[in-house]
């Protein structure tokens, strides 16, 4: 465990995800539409796998590298991760 306690509310996960995606796209966070398919806002399959890595580092969990293929929007990802993080013992 990393030892850091992360805020794992849906809102906190969402705003962290938006921050990462804004970083990759080099755009202001306010421009990231949380309901738009990631691939349509410029995050291709490779970015999606990189994002899985970021999630693993941030929350100290293991997720499928294809996580963002199956949960293809910020909101879908935030909901999925909230579920995963909420259920870890």
């Amino acid at each position: 465990m990393s030892g850091t306690i992360q805020d794992t509310s849906v809102d906190a996960i969402r705003s962290w995800l938006v921050g990462r995606i804004a970083f990759y796209l080099q755009r202001p966070a306010e421009e990231i539409d949380a309901d738009a398919p990631l691939v349509e806002i410029g995050l291709d399959s490779v970015y999606a796998m990189t994002l899985s890595g970021d999630v693993e580092e941030r929350f100290d969990i293991e997720v499928e590298p294809t996580m963002a293929w199956d949960h293809p929007t910020v909101n879908a990802l935030a909901g999925y991760l909230h579920g995963v993080l909420g259920s870890r013992g």
Partner: protein
């Protein structure tokens, strides 16, 4: 899909395992149907050598691609590359046009196919059937996510419309592994593999497209197919609908991880051809081989071949032992080894002089191989594609993997040691920032009895890794992707060079019972050469190092043994 569909050719004999190198015979024998004269003549005609295809049918080459559990001989990725070298030593065109194409088409079926699909593909291959890998569309190339050929589900079947172009054997294959769009939405869940039994498809819905002519591997049949509302049975889907991208990311680790080891056979022939010339030809009262520049070039070529084989063999073994890490290694080996081999061949051409481009005569195979090597580099994944596969993983490797990964099991390097079965499902889509191979370097430095000279060279590579870690941890976001600038691509080159150094070290360290490999001079020379590649000064070479390796090269040549790690006796 019918399991007992008819495939041309007779069933192979299931006797003791034959030796392909011996079977294919002396390549210089003019009467050998797969010797250099026949190979060169077929290349001049732009044809795949028909006698060669018959010979490989007779040997049952396809069985090398079929898992042992399905009745074939594939149980070790490193062995597959070594067996295929016998073909690549003689004719890269056959190696690619008969062998690799089928191997690439079959691997996704082994990875994600049902038991019935695997059985069908295995039977087809064991009866010398041909399989073709239907991925490429000229407009999209390796940008698979944008592939457009469409398979629309319609009740109990798919309706396929679109084209695949510039694909080996597509016009004559018995089976095609087709990469098709099954969902119109953009993204990575919109493509599926379909396994096509070509004899069962209605011909009126298919049109063969023109063959593309090439500068290298001129006999390879690069063709295309256009499907128009072609019905395909629903049970042709390999794996779940929408899962093709994932299958590709696994299956291609195996194919990309094995191909470079096959191509080592091409440069084995290049080196032998040039050495033969250099020993026969006298200039200034000496055999060319005794001229200092020529001798250095020959020894460098030998080292490049050994380095290439170290990386190729270790990565092939990693598919069995470190499958969660091979997404990076398989791209690195497919990038670096063809490049090293090509550079070696070009340097060797200087020794051969004008004969390096003569299309006939005793050294004619050299110019063919020089052209064919380019194809070996481009086949399946170009250098840039492989580098782009590594780039997104660099930051995470830099943050942790290069400092704290556990060292690999010694079995990774023990060339004659057993390997666990290759589990296609265990191949990781991402290495998750772990890199055990480079941990070999730090591991050696921590050993109490480490050789100080080896240690000094190892430190050059751990220092390089530290430099890389610093840069890669802070890569700007745009430089972490396939559309990164040149700097990121250069970083992958340097990283792959460190991986090669770690492979050489491990092979030396863990094969102390091999009379050649346990010898330290080759390792010192190989590490120095790789350091030079990084632009790092390796320091002065020990006295007599080059002479030592030159004597080894000459001895192997006189005994007619290969120049690779296998060091086996060759036919002829």
């Amino acid at each position: 899909m019918s399991v007992d569909a008819a495939v041309p050719g007779a069933a192979p004999a299931r006797t003791a395992e034959p030796d392909l190198e011996t079977y294919l015979g002396d390549p210089h024998d003019p009467a050998n149907p797969v010797g250099y004269p026949a190979v060169l003549a077929a290349d001049e005609r732009g044809e795949l050598l028909a006698e060669g295809e018959r010979a490989l049918d007779g040997y049952g080459l396809n069985a090398e691609f079929v898992p042992r559990a399905l009745g074939g001989r594939f149980d070790r990725a490193d062995r597959l590359a070594q067996v295929m070298r016998a073909v690549f030593r003689r004719d890269t065109t056959l190696g690619v046009g008969y062998g690799v194409t089928t191997f690439i088409a079959a691997t996704p079926v082994w990875t994600s196919g049902t038991a019935q699909q695997r059985r069908w593909m295995a039977d087809l291959l064991l009866r010398h059937g041909k399989a073709s890998a239907g991925y490429n569309e000229l407009a999209h190339g390796t940008d698979f996510g944008r592939a457009r050929l469409r398979a629309r589900p319609a009740g109990d079947h798919f309706v396929v419309t679109g084209r695949k172009e510039m694909v080996g054997n597509l016009g004559r294959a018995d089976a095609v592994t087709l990469f098709a769009r099954t969902d119109d939405r953009p993204g990575s869940r919109s493509h599926s593999h379909l396994l096509l039994d070509m004899a069962a498809l209605p011909a009126e819905h298919l049109r063969r497209l023109r063959r593309h002519r090439t500068a290298g591997v001129r006999g390879v049949l690069l063709g295309g197919l256009e499907f128009t509302d072609c019905p395909v049975p629903a049970d042709a889907a390999v794996g779940d609908l929408g899962a093709a991208m994932e299958t590709v990311l696994r299956a291609f680790q195996v194919t990309r991880g094995v191909l470079p080891g096959m191509a080592v056979g091409i440069v084995d022939t290049q080196l032998r051809t040039v050495l033969r010339f250099a020993l026969d030809r006298r200039l200034y009262g000496l055999p060319v081989a005794e001229l200092p520049h020529a001798r250095t070039t020959l020894v460098d070529g030998f080292l490049d071949l050994l380095i290439s084989d170290c990386l190729a063999t270790v990565v092939a073994r990693a598919l069995h032992l470190l499958p969660e890490q091979t997404s990076v290694y398989s791209a690195a080996v497919k990038y670096l080894v063809p490049k090293l081999l090509q550079e070696a061949a070009h340097r060797l051409s200087v020794v051969l002089g004008a004969r390096s481009y003569l299309r006939d005569g005793p050294y004619g195979i050299f110019q063919k191989n020089l052209r064919d090597l380019l194809a070996a580099t481009l086949t399946h994944a170009s250098a840039a594609v492989c580098q782009a596969t590594i780039i997104p993983q660099l930051p995470r490797l830099a943050q942790q993997g290069w400092r704290s990964s556990p060292p690999p099991p010694p079995a990774l390097f023990r060339l004659t040691g057993p390997l666990p079965p290759l589990d296609f499902g265990a191949l990781g889509l991402s290495a998750r920032g772990v890199d055990s191979l480079t941990a070999t370097l730090r591991g050696y430095l921590a050993e109490p009895g480490a050789d100080p000279v080896v240690g000094r060279l190892c430190r050059l590579f751990t220092a390089e890794l530290d430099r890389l870690a610093e840069i890669c941890a802070d890569l700007p976001p745009r430089d972490r992707t396939v559309i990164a600038g040149r700097r990121s691509f250069e970083l992958t080159d340097r990283y792959a060079t460190v991986l090669a150094a770690a492979s050489c070290l491990g092979v030396w360290r863990h094969n102390q019972d091999d009379p050649f490999l346990r010898d330290t001079p080759w390792l010192l020379a190989a590490l120095s050469r790789l350091a030079g590649r990084l632009g790092v000064d390796p320091g002065a070479a020990p006295d007599g190092l080059e002479r030592h390796l030159f004597v080894e090269l000459l001895t192997r040549h006189q005994d007619n043994r290969g120049f690779d790690l296998v060091n086996r006796h060759l036919a002829g």
